[in-house]
């Protein structure tokens, strides 16, 4: 069990997101204003970059003579204002100092390069209705992948797709993308992302239709698995995520996903809420279940998860967060895991995020005794 904690802690890391679902607290319930992918994640639009510079990052470190307009004008790639409208680029690096098994003889400090990559965006037609988005970057291997000799690729693409907005309400996107499911929180090994298999390397080729009508927003996503994977491993299926805006500022939603490969069939369903507390503060809640049916062998199980994240913004640039997660990986098993802890997310200037998290993981099991796992993370995220 301790190994499991370590393995989990190793990947408690946000990835490639500078704009997060909790920014509903800034009046942005949809990801679409700030991301090219309307369901979030991936490169930021010009507007998203400006919001990051002026609304999210602290203004305290800028010279007093700089206006907000000047700060926004530096939000483009390499701190420049784009001089043409068709090509955009972005580069990211995210690294983390992880202290695992805190306070025990086996305490370990290690620096992990989580992401180093670049994105290229081509956009055409009025209001950028036609977009091409591509991403390629360094592929960190998990300990288990290293041990098994799998996943030797040092370079990986997690996104490449073409998007076309038929009108402001409806868009069609085709290519390699994250699956439309649940709240796309940054912590890619949150239980709410592990169980339905929507983690950092679970992107899939497919076609997604996205819609936005009168307080409703959602997507239907048909997918055929990641075509760069071996055919027998590809998860083929469909998913949907639908949200309804309530009381002006909040969102509630449902997700459903069904997929299978040669070895396993997955059925996941969840409900979630994103509540704006205004002034940048927010609460995210998700609860769901995944039915995992092994094809050709025994080992069927139903896992259940829940997530509660709170974000409060005492001052511009700083977010204080609490993360509480629940996991029952097999309903027929008595073991239940709770992971929780506080964190701080700080954007001292635009294009720079510093984050620290403390996690305690405890498993409640009447049949076994396990030690609590304590992990501290210090993350640095830079994007240009």
């Amino acid at each position: 069990m301790k190994r499991l904690f370590l393995a989990l802690a190793l990947f408690i890391t946000p990835l490639a997101a500078q704009s997060y679902p909790q920014f509903i607290g800034h009046g942005y319930p949809s990801c679409m204003n700030c991301h090219y992918n309307p369901m979030g994640n991936g490169p930021l639009t010009d507007y998203g970059r400006a919001v990051g510079a002026d609304g999210i990052a602290s203004g305290a470190l800028y010279p007093k003579s700089w206006s907000e307009e000047k700060i926004a004008s530096l939000s483009g790639f390499l701190f420049r204002t784009p001089v043409q409208r068709h090509v955009r680029a972005q580069a990211n690096y995210r690294g983390m100092e992880m202290i695992s098994s805190v306070g025990t003889p086996s305490e370990k400090w290690s620096w992990i390069h989580m992401q180093a990559g670049g994105q290229l965006i081509l956009k055409f037609l009025e209001n950028d209705r036609l977009t091409f988005v591509g991403e390629i970057g360094y592929n960190p291997s998990s300990n288990s992948a290293k041990a098994s000799g799998q996943d030797k690729r040092k370079v990986r693409t997690r996104e490449h797709y073409v998007g076309y907005r038929i009108n402001p309400e409806i868009g069609v996107y085709a290519g390699l993308m994250d699956k439309a499911y649940g709240i796309r929180i940054a912590e890619h090994i949150a239980y709410s992302r592990i169980l339905p298999e929507t983690t950092q390397n679970d992107q899939t080729h497919g076609v997604m239709i996205h819609g936005l009508f009168n307080g409703w927003e959602g997507a239907i996503h048909g997918f055929m698995g990641n075509l760069l994977q071996a055919r027998d491993l590809r998860q083929v299926g469909a998913s949907t995520q639908i949200e309804r805006q309530i009381f002006n500022d909040h969102r509630v939603g449902l997700s459903l996903m069904s997929s299978k490969n040669d070895y396993v069939r997955l059925l996941s369903y969840s409900t979630h809420a994103r509540l704006s507390l205004s002034e940048g503060s927010a609460i995210l809640i998700e609860a769901g279940q995944t039915e995992r049916i092994s094809l050709g062998s025994r080992g069927d199980r139903i896992g259940r998860y829940a997530l509660l994240q709170t974000y409060t913004r005492p001052i511009r640039g700083l977010y204080c967060l609490t993360n509480i997660e629940y996991l029952k990986s097999d309903l027929s098993n008595a073991a239940t895991t709770i992971r929780w802890g506080p964190g701080f997310q700080f954007f001292p200037v635009q294009k720079l995020e510093l984050r620290t998290d403390l996690y305690q993981t405890r498993t409640f099991n009447p049949n076994a005794s396990t030690q609590d796992g304590w992990t501290i993370l210090f993350q640095t995220n830079v994007w240009l």
Binding site: H26, G27, Y28, P29, S30, M32, N33, T45, D46, Y47, A50, V51, D54, G55, G59, S67, E68, E69, I71, A72, N127, D128, P168, L212, E217, N248, D249, S278, E279, G280
Partner: protein, 162 residues
């Protein structure tokens, strides 16, 4: 003579409220999203005669609106024309039975408006819709995100005593 004026003022004072209220303007964005601009610097007079509420002048400084982002505050102020007319002024307000009218001057343009209101918890809460195009404001757009021309305004003022 002075005593008469003082006496009249003292009698009328409870019926007259020197209002300091709040305004919230709900703004919708396209393709998605919204924000609320808030100001607590609404100033003016509000008085009650029988069932009727009247005000000669209510005004708010346009640079007092806060939207949660400094740059958006600046854009909001400029869009409302604060560089040429720093205040929005509502004059000739008359209201009774939950409905009212007045004349709003904004961006150098004067337009009659109508609103609905309710009295609750010792406050007057008025709501109305404004179309920025009526006040000759250009359609607002910033880096691909557009602002809907029609906004919802909510005004809260202390209720004058009955």
């Amino acid at each position: 003579m002075h005593k008469n004026w003082i006496t009249a003022f003292l009698i009328c004072f409870p019926l007259l409220s020197h209002a300091e209220g709040t305004i919230q303007i709900a703004v919708k964005l396209t393709p998605a999203g919204s924000f609320v601009a808030k100001s607590d610097r609404l100033k003016g007079d509000l008085s009650r005669t029988g069932a009727e509420l009247t005000s000669q002048k209510l005004s708010v400084a346009l640079d007092s609106f806060k939207t949660g982002m400094t740059l958006r505050d600046e854009h909001f102020c400029k869009h409302l024309g604060c560089e040429t007319q720093p205040k929005a002024v509502l004059s000739g307000l008359k209201a009774s039975g939950g409905k009212g009218t007045g004349s709003l001057e904004l961006n150098g343009i004067k337009r009659d408006i109508s609103f609905s209101y309710e009295e609750k918890d010792q406050a007057i809460l008025a709501r109305f819709e404004l179309n920025s195009a009526d006040f000759k404001m250009p359609h607002a757009k910033y880096l691909g995100v557009e602002v809907n021309d029609v906004v919802n305004v909510e005004v809260r003022l202390p209720a004058p005593k009955k």
